[in-house]
Structures are given as C-alpha cells and as structure tokens.
C-alpha cells in the first residue's frame, strides 16, 4: 500500500481487516467490518476509504457497504456506486482535516453519524 505503514496500522484498530483496492491509478482502503459509532445499525459493516480528492470534488470519502441507520438522518446521496467491483453507499459529508492522517480522516467521516449538522 502506498500509504504510510504506521497510518495503515492505526486503522487496524477499527476494522477486522485492512486492505488495498485499486481502481485505475487510485488506491482505496478497504476496511472490513469497520466499527461504527454507538447508536448505528448495523454496529459494523465493510467500508471503503478514499483518502484523496475524487471526481465528486470532496477531498476524501468514506463509502459503506450498506445504508447505515444512525441517530441523525443523513443525506445518502451516493447509492450503489460501483467502485472496485462492489456497490457502495455514502452520505453527504464534507471533511477537511488539518494535518490529515488516515485515522483522522476516518474519524472525521464517522463523526457524521454523531452530530446533527
């Protein structure tokens, strides 16, 4: 994986398995059984972290394998996006992390489940 190993290792606390998936020249991070914040249903699911700017204009994106129920309703504006030969879902959440690391980006996206706006 092209990402710093220590940052990838930090992600391993959040998922049962961390791997890389390539599409074109871009490397996504697959987080198998990613733990989700308390109150989410399901409590974990597979996720795909895109820690780089995409065609959607967002500096990063976290895709989920299912539509997650959370204490706050979210605008799931990406439904069944086909990436790395799987379908993914994502809600509208713009993240701009100062001094980003992979875990900081992940947590910034997950915080979308825990606040109203």
């Amino acid at each position: 994986m092209v990402y710093p190993q220590e940052q990838v290792d930090e992600l391993k606390r959040y998922a049962s398995k961390v791997g890389a998936l390539t599409e074109g020249n871009e490397i996504y991070i697959l987080l198998e059984e990613l733990r989700l914040p308390e109150g989410c249903e399901p409590a974990s699911c597979d996720a795909l972290l895109r820690p780089f700017k995409g065609a959607d204009g967002y500096p990063s994106q976290l895709y989920f394998s299912v539509l997650v129920k959370s204490p706050y309703s979210r605008n799931w504006n990406i439904v069944d996006a086909r990436i790395c030969e799987r379908n993914w879902f994502a809600f509208s959440w713009n993240v701009n992390v100062m001094s980003p690391t992979l875990v900081k980006i992940l947590l910034a996206h997950l915080s979308g489940f825990t606040k109203e706006k």
């Binding site: 959040y14 308390e38 204490p71 713009n94 910034a108 979308g112 825990t114 706006k117």
Partner: protein, 163 residues
C-alpha cells in the same frame, strides 16, 4: 497457613501487635488476599480487587478507631495495631483521561461540553472520542456521557459537516 504468614484481622481482633512475617493475609471488601510486604501502597491494594484509584478510594478499617482514607501512592503499614482490613468506595470526584492527561470530574452523567471544557475546547471546535472496549470513537454531542471514573477520551478538531 505457614507459621510466618499472619492474618492481620485475627491480631486486630485480639488486640495484639502484628509480628513481622513473610506474608500478610488481608481482607479487602471482605475478600482475603495474601500480601508479600508489610508496606504495600494504596494503589497496590486496590488492584487486588480489580479497582483503580481513578474511580475508587481505599479505606483502612480499625477495630477501635475511625476509618482512614489511604491515598494511592501512600504506603500502608499492615502491622499497624488494630488494623483489621480495608474497604473500597466509589469516589464522587473521579479522574478521567483526556489526550493522555488526568482530569478530575464529578461522577455521573456529564455533557460533552463539560468534558471538553477540561481541555479548554468546545463541541463547536472539537469532536470528543471515547476509547471504550475498542478504539477511540466519536461521541454524540447532545447525549450525556456516563462518567464512572477512569474513562479515556481523545479530542480531534472538527473537520466535517453536511454538504
């Protein structure tokens, strides 16, 4: 029990001095433990019952005197006359850890704001993460956080919003 192991409770009941011994049998919350030194610290004794000073205090119980609180780093003299054992009590003001530093806070339901106040941060500027049975995870800003003592929190600058 071997000859050079003594039960301090029995000596306290008889009003006798506790002799020097290889090990001391001590009651903590009614459960008996073998202690290899006459001068354990409060923290060491609390650990015997699986408790930590960030949430619990240790109290010496005597036969004919009032109880005394033992500080975590205080050395107890197990040969002190009349000392019959120890009890533990949940503290009202407990210690939590935020970004690796200890902070004192009242036990019970606290708001995210109250916790972030400890590190001069606000919910508008920071996410509060709790490390509980796993990695640090973001906490909802509008729900109370149950504080029992020893909780571990982290903060991260707010960097996301609905778009």
């Amino acid at each position: 029990m071997e000859n050079n192991e003594v039960d301090i409770f029995e000596f306290a009941q008889r009003g006798e001095d506790v002799p020097e011994a290889r090990a001391y049998h001590v009651r903590i919350d009614g459960e008996k433990f073998r202690i290899d030194t006459a001068h354990p610290t409060g923290e060491m004794l609390l650990a015997k019952v699986g408790k930590r000073p960030c949430a619990f205090e240790l109290i010496e119980e005597f036969v004919h005197r009032e109880n005394d609180v033992v500080e975590p780093d205080e050395e107890v003299d197990l040969r002190k006359k009349g000392l019959k054992g120890f009890i533990t009590a949940h503290k009202e003001i407990v210690t939590i850890f935020i970004n690796g530093e200890p902070y004192r806070i009242e036990r019970g339901d606290r708001t995210v704001k109250e916790i972030l106040d400890k590190v001069n941060e606000t919910p508008e500027g920071y996410i509060l993460l709790e490390e509980k049975n796993g990695p640090p995870m973001p906490l909802p800003t509008d729900k109370p956080v149950r504080i029992r003592g020893c909780e571990v929190f982290h903060t991260q600058a707010q960097s996301g919003g609905s778009s």
